[in-house]
């Protein structure tokens, strides 16, 4: 899967903090991942694990203050994004990287015709006239298979269904054929059949444009369908990183294993109860010392409470951060790792 050459997006040791009344929240604590052209990276994790904050930080969308990028870098086609001012970011946002959001119903301006909203991106980045941009907007809507695109372009968001609006969002983010598409839970607000259509559309466009996708989700079903590679995040860190098969069949981190057990499996009979991960996500005001997952980890050892595990290579381009992968760790109890 991984290709040589410069990755479209390369995030390295990114750290983001927020100042709040309760103190400093360390939302992202050293996240690294790469995405190559034509590849989909899924970023999974529970609510508040920092998966959205990471991409919003690199797009310059987090409000500063209270937000702040403390360290690390994020490079888009080799160009550093962290530290750019808003004007410099505006040259990149919408042009080289597009973003689609969770709730299409609220993510579009309710008092502006959808055609205008799409055309606006083109007017700003390509400098073409509004009429030309509107024509292009209709073509983009057609590309995302919106029927009667010319009429639909003249309508307002409230005249669309959720699935149709997400198609509009996709057309909008694709207007300038970006190299990178960031999709922040693009199907969470949609029902399952519409989810399927939207995901299929994204894949098709990815094949045609050869763009890189960062797909943020907490739905492992979506991951299995879309992703080439997966980054599992917990408490602001990437705890496991590997190919989609690595994550689904050779999960090395107890958190990833826990997530999989919490997922329904229609082939596995006799599994009436889904195993929930005990406990609750850590308090990011004061993340636990050592491995952030240790309070909930069934395999936690003494060292997990005191020292950060660091990253271990589990396989080809498959990494996990767990003390049990250390060479001196006691033998790992065999996980049911039969490929299904």
């Amino acid at each position: 899967m991984s290709e040589p050459g410069v990755p479209v997006l390369s995030v390295k040791d990114l750290e983001v903090e927020f100042d709040t009344f309760g103190g400093v929240v360390r939302a992202v604590r050293g996240v690294s991942y790469d995405v190559h052209a034509g590849e989909t990276l899924a970023v999974v994790g529970e609510s508040g694990c920092g998966k959205s904050v990471t991409v919003q930080a690199l797009m310059g969308l987090i409000p500063m203050p209270p937000g702040r990028v403390v360290g690390g870098s994020a490079k888009l086609l080799g160009q550093e994004l962290i530290g750019l001012d808003q004007a410099q970011l505006n040259a990149v946002r919408g042009a080289d990287m597009g973003m689609i959001f969770q709730d299409p119903m609220t993510s579009l301006n309710p008092t502006m015709r959808v055609g205008d909203q799409i055309a606006e991106t083109l007017v700003v980045h390509r400098g073409i006239t509004r009429d030309a941009a509107l024509k292009e907007a209709v073509r983009l809507l057609e590309r995302t298979r919106i029927p009667e695109a010319a009429q639909r372009a003249k309508q307002f968001p409230f005249e669309f269904s959720g699935g149709m609006l997400q198609r509009v969002m996709i057309s909008m983010s694709l207007a300038c054929t970006p190299k990178l598409l960031i999709a922040d839970e693009p199907t969470t607000a949609l029902d399952v059949t519409i989810q399927d259509q939207v995901l299929e559309l994204m894949r098709e466009i990815q094949r045609e444009d050869h763009m890189a996708i960062v797909l943020i989700t907490h739905d492992l079903g979506v991951v299995a369908r879309m992703a080439d590679r997966v980054a599992v995040m917990y408490a602001g860190e990437v705890v496991e990183y590997g190919s989609v098969d690595d994550i689904f069949y050779r999960a090395a981190h107890p958190y990833t294993q826990g997530l999989k057990q919490a997922m329904p499996d229609m082939h596995q009979h006799g599994k009436d109860r889904l195993e929930a991960i005990p406990g609750s996500p850590p308090d990011l005001f004061a993340p636990p010392p050592g491995c952030a997952y240790h309070p909930r980890c069934p395999h936690a050892m003494q060292i997990c409470k005191h020292r950060d595990p660091g990253q271990y290579r589990v396989g080809d381009a498959h990494y996990a951060s767990c003390w049990r992968l250390h060479e001196e760790a006691p033998a790992i109890a065999a996980e049911d790792s039969h490929a299904g």
Binding site: M59, L89, G94, F101, S107, N109, E120, V124, M172
Partner: protein, 314 residues
């Protein structure tokens, strides 16, 4: 759309009828009558006068006569101003009040939107604190104080420039209208500023503003094309009641600046129990406000595409 407006107008007519009826009986419930003034009147003269004005008839019959005349657009003759028809009073003085009110409303809406947007733009910085402080002052201080202060300011200004730049009172030219309408609109302007500020801040937090930023739009473009229009919607909603506040609040300002508006007659009539003038001005103001609210509702549909006339209703 046409039938929607027709329905709104019909319900407006019912509202006006209700206002007229409530005012009529409320007015008659007040002790005394317009003939009861300082001058001693013999019982004979009084009986003659009552017959002449129809006050000797039972109240329900008076009510029916009044309704019948009102339907023909006739509010009768004033009790206290000799041989002056109520319709003439309204026709003569309402344009003055309306001009003052429209100017005040323009000040209020324009100022409210601009200052509200400014405070939101400079949130937590000096311009924000300064404007919000002035807003609290403008909301708290009654208009007659501002009217007096306004006149004082005009005096000082005239003294400063050495000639009469702005007249202190009276009516006629645009220079007469400037300060009174500013004073009249001030309270509403302050209220709209606050509303606009909170509305702007709310819109700034929405997902679609984030989308606009993710598209790489400049802050100016986001402000004018995405934020402003959505933030103005709540302001437009309260414009109806704001018109009410300005027109009914006008009489104090009219009194202080000696402006020959309708407000003065409205208040005077109540003090003198001038039945016909009370009825005429109240019903007229009522009808005017109902019309304004309908106009605002219709205007709202043009600004917000989501507010459309439900076809099944119309």
């Amino acid at each position: 759309m046409g039938s929607y407006i027709a329905r709104r107008l019909l319900s407006g007519v019912i509202t006006i009828w209700f206002i007229a009826t409530a005012t009529f009986f409320g007015m008659h419930a007040v002790p005394g009558d317009p003939l009861l003034n300082d001058k001693a009147v013999t019982p004979e003269i009084r009986a003659n006068l009552e017959r002449a004005y129809g006050l000797d008839k039972p109240v329900p019959q008076q009510y029916l006569i009044f309704l019948g005349n009102m339907l023909q657009g006739d509010f009768g003759i004033s009790f206290t101003q000799q041989n002056r028809r109520v319709n003439d009073i309204i026709a003569e003085h309402f344009p003055v009040s309306a001009t003052l009110g429209v100017l005040a409303l323009l000040f209020a809406a324009g100022g409210g939107i601009v200052f509200g947007a400014l405070t939101a733009l400079f949130r937590g910085r000096l311009p924000d604190y300064l404007i919000m402080l002035l807003v609290i002052v403008a909301v708290s201080v009654p208009s007659f104080v501002f009217a007096g202060l306004g006149q004082l300011a005009i005096l000082q200004l005239n003294r400063l420039v050495g000639f009469s730049l702005l007249p202190v009172a009276g009516w006629g030219s645009l220079s007469h209208m400037l300060v009174p309408s500013l004073v009249l609109g001030l309270g509403t302007m302050a209220y709209l500023t606050r509303l606009m500020r909170s509305s702007m801040l709310e819109v700034a937090e929405t997902d679609y503003i984030r989308t606009a930023r993710a598209k790489g739009l400049t802050p100016q473009r986001i402000f004018f094309r995405h934020q402003l229009r959505n933030a103005i919607l709540p302001v437009v909603t309260v414009l109806g009641p704001a018109i009410a506040a300005i027109t009914t609040g006008g009489f104090v300002v009219e009194l202080v600046f000696a402006i020959p508006g309708l407000g003065r007659y409205f208040v005077q009539a109540v003090q003198q129990l001038d039945y016909t003038v009370i009825m005429g001005t109240t019903v007229f103001y009522g009808a005017f406000l109902v019309l304004m609210v309908i106009a605002v509702d219709i205007a709202y549909g043009f600004i917000d595409p989501r507010i459309q006339v439900n076809k099944s209703l119309s």
